[in-house]
Homo-oligomer: 116 residues x 2
């Protein structure tokens, strides 16, 4: 379940503090320490999954669970109607920096195109 030395596993296990905005039995969401928008939340499964390309039929429902939580947080933070961008980076070219699956929820400003 937990990968030794994984930053996000340590946050999920409360070994490292984070500004948690949502949590249930399967996932946890917290503020990005290097925010790129007025609202910038990371949503992660508590179970260690390295990257989005590792998902299979058996655990792909995790993504829907993350999205429903992101929607709820977006509503709470008052950005749902103006808009928000969800981003998942897979591997180096995309800039995945922590190899524990995470979804970025960003809002509170206008976003440019392309997305990076």
């Amino acid at each position: 379940m937990t990968e030794q030395g994984c930053l996000f596993c340590r946050i999920a296990n409360k070994e490292i503090p984070a500004k948690v905005v949502f949590e249930d039995s399967r996932i946890i969401a917290f503020e990005d320490v290097n925010p790129q928008a007025p609202v910038h939340i990371l949503l992660i499964p508590k179970k260690h999954i390295e990257k989005i390309s590792d998902l299979t039929k058996d655990n792909a429902d995790m993504v829907g669970h993350l999205v429903l939580a992101a929607n709820k947080i977006a509503a709470e933070q008052g950005i749902r109607d103006a808009g928000y961008r969800l981003t998942i980076n897979c591997n180096k070219d995309a800039g995945q920096a922590v190899f524990h699956l995470h979804m970025h929820l960003m809002g509170g400003r206008k976003f440019a195109w392309p997305p990076g």
Copy 2:
């Protein structure tokens, strides 16, 4: 199921041609007509859902289905290991241009941060 005048419903219904790269009973994936990366695919549910914030517990599994298809396409297009970025825009601030839920799969180059 189909929203009159919706561009993506018309693509799903084959009323407008698109370069389709994947299709099953629930979703269809096709090349973006204004690509922002060497690989730029749009993945959509065939059923009309306006935006990601409209998902509920009853249909949130759609996102996992889209992600598994994106992973498969990424492998086929040879970008899985180098990396790819998945993006979903919700509402105007995020730049959602077509109000039929879609996920962008982009790869084949390095991506900058922030994502727009």
